[in-house]
Structure formats: structure tokens, C-alpha cells
């Protein structure tokens, strides 16, 4: 069988054809590659860089908060935060077990992390935040895939809870969320920097590719006017007193009389959970407003003295009770109609007597004095959440309220307002705004002092000195004898306010009165250096400890030695304590 035969080709020619075809294809490849690497390169390179370059924030280290003597109140220490990307974890069980072993996670935490690693639903899970740097390094050295360790500073209070009410706190991200930390957050935070780095898929950094694009600027340090020792003493004394008399809480303010610098600002309260008395995280000395009670008599009497409508020796016939508008107002104790001088009215804290003095002024004048003493508006602290208190305009007062404001009922003030008000008397008639921040320290260490507190004249020095003398008598022989301090003449005034209840009356649901007892004073009485407020919130209504003198006075007495020691206060050479010689 002879099929049609096609002629065979020449191998030589065919080899050359093959060669040409292959060479042509290789040239085509080279042209294509060349175009990718040259003319199209820029666009692709940008896309590539976007893919493998990451920019991350370098958090600036947060400024330290110092007390007036340079003791740290709050500071940031380097710490590590461990997170995991479950999608990059090869072996969930081993990874979870190793994390647990190194970090000491409890079983529940371990189980929840393991569940995340297995379900792989999320690409980022915190394992532990702000743990010791050493632990962080240990984790990093394990090189577990998917596990990331970054620096994240931890905020600590080196003095324990001391000053916590004022300092406030930062949230877990290191952002101020309360107190001074919140108020000065921007200053403390500084400016974060930027770092670029190249990453492998999944975000693992490539060593050696990190570069700092923008240097972080650390936050400023803050110097407070607080004195950590006095702050500590205040808190301790309050806790002890509140615990002893089974009250609900208390506040304490120590202030430098001449400058308004707050040396201590404490707040304690019985915890709902544990039942023990603890330093509060909120600063109730600035946030809570209560009736000042009789402490407000200081303002009424100083105003009357300044107006010249009375002298300390002016006398009044004072009944133990009297009808004003629709209420029968009375003194705290029953007495026959009595001839009382202004001094006696102050020393015995007579309500009716105070009304008699107050009646010598117009209601508008009295209201203006209250404002001038700093009531009814926030102090210069401008503390986060600070209350302005309640001081209705005199035209808005109604019923017996119009009268009772003269002795501190029908109004409300914060502890810091009240301390600043009484400080006017200590400071010879000049109001000086309270102050918590004495300066800042910049990144290079330069200190900028904050401006001195604003001041304004409220009463004449003579009226202030007269009032000082009356207040010294209150401590020597009046309602505040518990506040006496050995070797010093102390001046001050007690107050026993009633707390208005949610039901709109002064009686709680059991029909008991709820008290707010305070003592505000200063010493040495002859030349005041320190003004001090102690308030006890809700002392038991049925005990003798409910009054300002009995509830709050002893705290003053307990604190005085520490303050004397810390401030180096000397009694005046010619002082005779309470006229005893």
C-alpha cells in the first residue's frame, strides 16, 4: 500500500526556524519585563509600597504629675501590650497555652483567647495590656506567629491612692478620663510621632525597615500645689473619722491662706460594695454641693461688720424662735429671750441672732457679698465636673428661704467654694482663687510657673480681723472646741447643714434628718497661714456626732500637727492660747 507521501523537511532549516521562534519569544518576554521594570514601574512601585509599608503612631510618653515638693503623684512606666491576630496563628492550642504560661492568665481568659484563635473571626485580639516589659520581651522572644508585642505605657500612682480623687485617672488607652488627668490631658499627652516600617503579609514587621518619620514630643510634666504628706494625712484622718462615727463620707481641704494654693483636697466615701470607707475616684470636694449651714454665718456677720451696720459689740434681743413668713424658725437650743452681742451670736451660732444682724442689710447687699465670697459660681480650678453650687438670685428667693440664706440654708456650696470663702477672712478680706497647678515642666526641663491666683477685695482688713477674732472665740469657747490645737490659736466655724432629700423635704423616707456637718477654720488665728475645711457627709442622725463641731472638728485637731510640721508653722511669739496665758 502506497499512501501519499509528503516530502520531509530539512532539519537544518527547521532548527534555524525553531531558534528564531524561541529567540523571538524571549525578546517579547524581555520587552514586556523591561516595560514593567521601567515605564510602568513608578505606578506599580507606589502600589507595592502602599501594600508593604505601614505607618504607626509612636505614642509620646505622658507627663508626670508631681506634688509641690517634686514627689510623683502619677507617672507612666514602660510596659508591653500583647495582642494576637488569630488568623495568623498556626497552632491555637500551643499558642494559647504558652501565652497563659508566660502571662499567668487565668483559665477563663485562656479559654476565651483559645476560642478566638480557633474561630478566627477577628483579626485583632488583646491578650494582655500593659504588662511588665520583661514579660513582653519574653513573649516576643518566643516568636509565636500571629502574636504581637508593642510598647504601651502604664500609668501608675506611686503614692498608692493618695490624691487619687484629684489626680483622676487615665483610661486603658492612656487618655485622661477624670480629674487632673482629664483636665490637663492635652498638655500631659504631648504629640505622638510617626514610624514607618515594612511588613510581611499579616503585619509582621521586617527587622531593620523601621524609620521614625516624626519624632514624638513627650507631654509636659505637671506640678500640683498639693503636698503629698498633707494629702495623705487628710485622707487617713477622714477615713478614720468617717469609719469611727459610721458616717457616709467626708471631704477635706487644706489651703495656703495667702496664695489660695490647695495643699490637700481629699474625698472619702463608704463603698457600696465593700462597706469600707475608701478614697473616692471622684473629687467630691469640688463636684458635690451641699448646704453650708452655719458656716455661712461667717459671711453674713463679716458683711454686716464691713457695711458698718454692726460692730462686734452690737447687741440684739434674741428669742429662741420667731415666725418668718410661713415658717417658725428657731435656734438649735431652747432659751429665753436673751440679749446677745454679735460675738455671742457667732460663738453660740444663733440662727435668730444671725437673722437680726442680717436684717440690718438689704437682701441685695447680702446677696452681693455672697457672690463676692465666691458662692454660686465655679472656682478658678474649673475642675472637671465641678459644681457651681446653688445660690439663687435674691429676687428669686421665696418664703422663709429669703431669711434662712443668712445662716446657710436654702443654698448649696461645694467644699472648695466654702474653704475659699472662709479664706477671705483668713486672708484679711481678700478673696484669692483656689489653685491646684503651680507649674508645668516642658520637654527640655524648663519650668513655667502658672500665674498667681486672681484676687479681689471682699471686706476691709478691719472687718476681716474682727471676724477672725470672733472665729477664734468660736473655737476657744463656742461650738468648735473640738478643733483646738495645742500651742495654737485656731479660728473657725462649724456648720450643720441639712441635706435636701429626693422627696423634696429635709426628712428622709424614715422621717430622719440627713446632716452635712462641717468645720472651716484657719490658724494661727493671729496670722493665718493655712485654711482648712473638714466636712462629714451624713453623720448618723441620732448620735451626738451629727454636728459640725462634734463630727468634723476632731479631724481638724488630728490634722493640725502634720500641717504644722510640714509647713513649718510657728505660733506667734506673744500668742496666748484662748486667753489662758
Amino acid at each position: 500500500m502506497n499512501v501519499t507521501r509528503f516530502s520531509a523537511g530539512s532539519p537544518r532549516r527547521r532548527l534555524i526556524v525553531v531558534l528564531l521562534v524561541v529567540l523571538a519569544a524571549l525578546v517579547a518576554v524581555l520587552v514586556r519585563v523591561g516595560s514593567i521594570q521601567t515605564t510602568q514601574a513608578e505606578e506599580l512601585r507606589v502600589e507595592g509600597a502602599r501594600q508593604w509599608t505601614r505607618t504607626t503612631n509612636i505614642p509620646a510618653s505622658r507627663g508626670t504629675i508631681f506634688d509641690r515638693n517634686g514627689e510623683e503623684l502619677a507617672m507612666s512606666v514602660p510596659a508591653s501590650t500583647v495582642s494576637v491576630n488569630p488568623r495568623l496563628v498556626d497552632d491555637p492550642h500551643t499558642t494559647a497555652a504558652m501565652l497563659q504560661a508566660v502571662l499567668g492568665l487565668d483559665q477563663a481568659r485562656h479559654d476565651s483567647i483559645l476560642a478566638e484563635l480557633i474561630t478566627r473571626e477577628r483579626g485583632f485580639v488583646y491578650v494582655a495590656r500593659q504588662v511588665d516589659d520583661a514579660l513582653g520581651e519574653q513573649i516576643a522572644s518566643l516568636r509565636l506567629s500571629g502574636v504581637d508585642v508593642v510598647r504601651e505605657d502604664r500609668r501608675i500612682l506611686p503614692g498608692g491612692n493618695t490624691g487619687r480623687s484629684v489626680i483622676g485617672r487615665t483610661d486603658v488607652d492612656g487618655v485622661g478620663s477624670a480629674g487632673i488627668e482629664l483636665q490637663y490631658d492635652e498638655l500631659l499627652t504631648g504629640r505622638s510621632g510617626e514610624m514607618t516600617r515594612e511588613v510581611a503579609p499579616g503585619g509582621r514587621s521586617i527587622p531593620g525597615t523601621e524609620s521614625v518619620a516624626l519624632r514624638p514630643v513627650p507631654g509636659d510634666d505637671l506640678i500640683l500645689t498639693l503636698d503629698r504628706s498633707i494629702q495623705f494625712a487628710c485622707e487617713e484622718a477622714l477615713i478614720e473619722r468617717v469609719t469611727d462615727i459610721a458616717a457616709r463620707g467626708g471631704t477635706c481641704i487644706v489651703m495656703e491662706s495667702a496664695t489660695g494654693e490647695v495643699l490637700a483636697m481629699a474625698s472619702v466615701r463608704r463603698s457600696d460594695q465593700t462597706g469600707s470607707v475608701e478614697i473616692t475616684s471622684g473629687n467630691f470636694a469640688a463636684v458635690d454641693a451641699d448646704e453650708p449651714g452655719s458656716v455661712a454665718k461667717v459671711i453674713t456677720i463679716a458683711a454686716a461688720l464691713n457695711e458698718g451696720v454692726v460692730t462686734t459689740d452690737s447687741g440684739f434681743t434674741v428669742p429662741w424662735r420667731e415666725q418668718y413668713y410661713d415658717d417658725l424658725l428657731s435656734d438649735a437650743w431652747q432659751h429665753p429671750d436673751e440679749w446677745m452681742t454679735v460675738e455671742e451670736i457667732m460663738v453660740t451660732s444663733s440662727n435668730i441672732g444671725t437673722i437680726k444682724i442680717w436684717e440690718r442689710m438689704t437682701r441685695e447687699t447680702h446677696w452681693n457679698y455672697m457672690r463676692s465670697f465666691g458662692l454660686g459660681e465655679k472656682t478658678a480650678l474649673d475642675f472637671p465636673g465641678e459644681s457651681a453650687g446653688i445660690l439663687k438670685h435674691w429676687t428669686d428667693l421665696w418664703g422663709s428661704e429669703r431669711v434662712t440664706v443668712s445662716y446657710g440654708q436654702g443654698m448649696a456650696s461645694t467644699s472648695i467654694q466654702l474653704a475659699a470663702a472662709v479664706n477671705v477672712i483668713a486672708n484679711d478680706g481678700i478673696y484669692v482663687a483656689p489653685k491646684l497647678v503651680s507649674g508645668t515642666v516642658g520637654p527640655t526641663g524648663e519650668i513655667s510657673e502658672s500665674a498667681p491666683s486672681a484676687t479681689h477685695s471682699v471686706v476691709s482688713p478691719e472687718a476681716a480681723r474682727d471676724t477672725q477674732r470672733l472665729l477664734a472665740e468660736v473655737v476657744c469657747r463656742g461650738t468648735a472646741k473640738t478643733a483646738q490645737v495645742e500651742g495654737f490659736n485656731v479660728a473657725g466655724k462649724t456648720g450643720t447643714g441639712l441635706k435636701a432629700q429626693p422627696n423634696g423635704t429635709y426628712l428622709d423616707d424614715q422621717g430622719r434628718r440627713v446632716y452635712y456637718s462641717s468645720f472651716v477654720g484657719f490658724f494661727p488665728a493671729e496670722n493665718p497661714e493655712v485654711t482648712l475645711l473638714v466636712s462629714i457627709d451624713e453623720p448618723p442622725a441620732d448620735s451626738g456626732d451629727r454636728f459640725g463641731g462634734t463630727a468634723a472638728g476632731p479631724v481638724f485637731g488630728a490634722l493640725a500637727p502634720t500641717i504644722v510640721h510640714e509647713r513649718g508653722i510657728q505660733p506667734p511669739a506673744d500668742a496666748t492660747v484662748c486667753g489662758a496665758g
Partner: protein, 407 residues
């Protein structure tokens, strides 16, 4: 003026100071023709320049390949918690074996292989079925082309390529006068190509299938099979491949993704696109050895199928020119070797090997550069993959052996 082959070999060996007195060899029959003009030419000088160029290209490619495999695989291996030298070490081992293979190919006169060609091809065909033995074969990248023996893995299709090539060369040497005979020349050739390509296809390895078919067809083409036959086989083969591709929407998508790389960059042509990013990153002068970011895990198979993208990244366009140019030199001088081969078997062997490397390089580079679909073929001498390196080096040895004996 005429010298027998034996005499000429002896002269060469003496010149190389390698040989003692002449020994009779069994291969004294006169070479059979490529062309009358060549037949009269005599070469008594040193080995042709092709011998040296091919040797240098192979040596440089193998060494550069080892460096690039280390560079492309180390970071990824470390990321997976392995030694950075894991893949590199394996490649070095196969490179050493490959050197043995190369040396054997170089030293054993190529015609000695002829009696062994059929048994080797049968063995290689059998080996192609081993990946389907449970416990022996493994799935890698959707193909079933690998067998694992302990820690050593082996890809029989690489061996099959060389075996089938040699078989076709032997066949068309024996039936030189029958290349234009449909039954005696065409059908056996088609059987070799068809069986080999089908086996690769059964493994799911379309790339190897195409290359194997192309090699056999090239050998046939070079041997002088009439163009009518050739073109009908090409049409049939292309039709078959088209049928294979278009029988599955997934394959259609993967096949056509290269037409719009940027548009499919998130999924279908993710790998190609990442290759582009790497190549572009290299620019003209490259990011330096070790400087590629793609190999950190962005670019899949950076150390094997896509190693060219890493080379282009780290060595720049200069490196690309060197690699592509190196293949061009290899093919050019490989064809020169075929043209100067002392006999038809040598000619077909050399032409087949040169074409094979050229085609495989083109298919790999075409895939990486987005001119063709990505097929999963290795880049000869460069890609990590021990079997491929070993077989390529052994084939280079055979090519060099033919070159040494050029007339």
C-alpha cells in the same frame, strides 16, 4: 584529510591531556547526514565555542539559582518557624546530584543511551502513576505530580520529559527515511506525545503537558516531519487543550485572568500582579540580593514558579536581561550544537534539549510577565524544585556531550 570519529576523539582527548593511547570504540560508523556541506567539514581544533558558552551559562545559572532560591525562600521559611536554609539546603543537595548527572551526561557518549531509551521511557511512564498511590503521592498546588519518599520529594514528569524526548529522537533517527510516513513515522511520534501529555494532564499539570507535547513536536519538526502532519497535530493538540480548559469555568477564569491582570489582582491574577509589583520594585538596577519585599509572603511561590519576579526585583532589569539573555545564548548555542552534531540522534537530542529549555523558559517567563496564563512550570536552573534541577543538569550534560563531539 578524512578522520574517523574515533581518531578525532582521540585527538581531542590528547589535546585535553586526558587520554592515553587510542582505544577502540564501538562507534566508528560514519556520521549520518545533516547536509552534504557539513559532511565534508573537519573539526580538529578545540571544542567549539558552543561547548564553553553552554557550560558557562549552566554554571552561572545553577549558582545564581541557588543564591536566588536562598534569598527568595529564607524569609518565608523563618516566618513559618523553619530554618532559613531548609529549601536552600534541599536545592543544594539536588544541585550536587545534578552535577553528578551532568558529569555522567558529559562523560557517557550519548549514543550509548540509545538502547536504554525505551526502558527508561517505560519506567518514567510507570513512575508517572506513582503519585496516585495512596501514601506516596501528595497534592501540591492542585496537582498530583509529586511523590514523597521520606523527606525527599520527586516529580516524575520532569524525568518523563527527558525520556520522551530521547525516545522521540531515537525513533526518528531509526526511521529517518520514514518521517513522512504517516503510520511508521507520524503515529508513533503522536503516541509518544499523546501518552506523555495525557499523563501530565491526568496529574492536573497542564503546563508540563503543553511543554512535553511541544518538545516532542519540536523533535518531530526538526527531524523533518512534513508540515501538513505537524500543523494537523498542532491543531488537534490545541483543540484538545482548548477543550480541557473550556470544560471548566474555573479553568476558563484562571486561563483568561492574564488578559486583565490589574482587574483580577485580588484573586485570579493575584500572583501575577504581585509578581508585577516585585519586578517594578526592582527597576533598572534592582533592590539588591535579599531586598525584595514580595518574597516575604506577598508573592506566592516566590522561590519556585515565580522566582524570576524575585530575580528581577533584586537584580533589576539588568538581572532580567542577564537571565533572558542567558536562555537566548543557551538556545542559540544549543541549536548550533545540533547543527554541528556528528549524527542524526545527536542532532535531534541537542535540538530537542535546546528547544525544551527555551520553551519551558518562555512558558514560565511568559506567565510571570503576564504574556500567557500562569502554568506552574519551573524556570530551568532557577526555580526551587530538585527533580527539575537534576533533570535539567543531566540534560545539559548530554547537550555538552553532543557539543564536545561536534564535527
Amino acid at each position: 584529510m578524512t578522520m574517523t570519529l574515533a581518531e578525532r576523539r582521540q585527538a581531542t582527548l590528547e589535546r585535553l591531556e586526558l587520554a592515553g593511547p587510542p582505544t577502540p570504540t564501538g562507534t566508528s560508523r560514519p556520521p549520518r547526514g545533516i547536509g552534504a556541506r557539513r559532511r565534508t567539514q573537519q573539526f580538529t581544533g578545540p571544542p567549539p565555542i558552543a561547548y564553553y558558552v553552554i557550560a558557562v551559562v549552566v554554571a552561572v545559572f545553577v549558582m545564581l539559582g541557588l543564591v536566588m532560591v536562598l534569598s527568595a525562600s529564607a524569609a518565608n521559611e523563618v516566618g513559618q518557624g523553619n530554618s532559613p536554609y531548609r529549601i536552600f539546603g534541599r536545592q543544594v543537595m539536588w544541585g550536587a546530584l545534578g552535577f553528578v548527572g551532568l558529569f555522567m551526561g558529559l562523560k557517557i557518549p550519548y549514543e550509548r543511551w540509545r538502547p536504554l531509551v525505551l526502558p527508561i521511557a517505560v519506567l518514567a511512564t510507570g513512575a508517572m502513576l506513582l503519585p496516585f498511590v495512596p501514601g506516596l503521592g501528595v497534592n501540591i498546588n492542585d496537582t498530583r505530580a509529586w511523590i514523597h519518599l521520606g523527606s525527599v520529594s520527586f516529580q516524575p514528569s520532569e524525568v518523563l520529559k527527558l525520556a520522551a524526548l530521547a525516545l522521540a529522537a531515537d525513533l526518528l533517527t531509526r526511521r529517518e527515511s520514514e518521517v513522512n510516513d504517516l503510520r511508521r513515522g507520524m503515529l508513533p511520534l503522536m503516541a509518544i506525545a499523546g501518552i506523555g501529555a495525557s499523563l501530565c494532564l491526568v496529574q492536573g499539570d497542564l503546563g508540563s503537558s503543553v511543554v512535553l507535547g511541544a518538545i516532542i513536536l519540536s523533535v518531530g519538526f526538526i527531524a523533518g516531519v512534513p508540515l501538513v502532519f505537524m500543523s494537523s497535530i498542532v491543531v488537534a493538540g490545541t483543540g484538545f487543550i482548548g477543550l480541557f480548559v473550556f470544560s471548566s469555568p474555573r479553568r476558563i477564569n484562571r486561563f483568561s485572568a492574564f488578559l486583565d491582570v490589574a482587574g483580577n489582582k485580588d484573586y485570579l491574577s493575584y500572583q501575577t500582579h504581585q509578581g508585577f509589583l516585585s519586578m517594578a520594585n526592582g527597576g533598572l538596577t534592582g533592590s539588591g540580593i535579599g531586598g525584595s519585599n514580595g518574597k516575604l509572603g506577598y508573592l506566592p511561590l516566590a522561590h519556585s514558579d515565580f522566582i524570576f519576579a524575585v530575580i528581577a526585583d533584586e537584580l533589576g532589569f539588568i538581572g532580567s536581561v542577564a537571565v533572558v539573555g542567558g536562555f537566548a545564548l543557551f538556545v542559540y548555542f544549543g541549536i548550533q550544537v545540533a547543527l554541528a552534531a556528528p549524527d542524526r540522534f545527536g542532532m535531534l537530542l541537542a535540538g530537542g534539549i535546546a528547544t525544551w529549555f527555551g520553551v519551558q523558559a518562555i512558558v514560565n517567563l511568559g506567565g510571570v510577565s503576564g504574556l500567557m496564563p500562569v502554568t506552574g512550570l519551573t524556570l530551568p536552573f532557577f526555580s526551587a524544585g530538585g527533580t527539575s534541577l537534576f533533570v535539567m543538569m543531566a540534560a545539559s550534560g548530554i547537550l555538552l556531550n553532543v557539543a564536545r563531539r561536534a564535527r
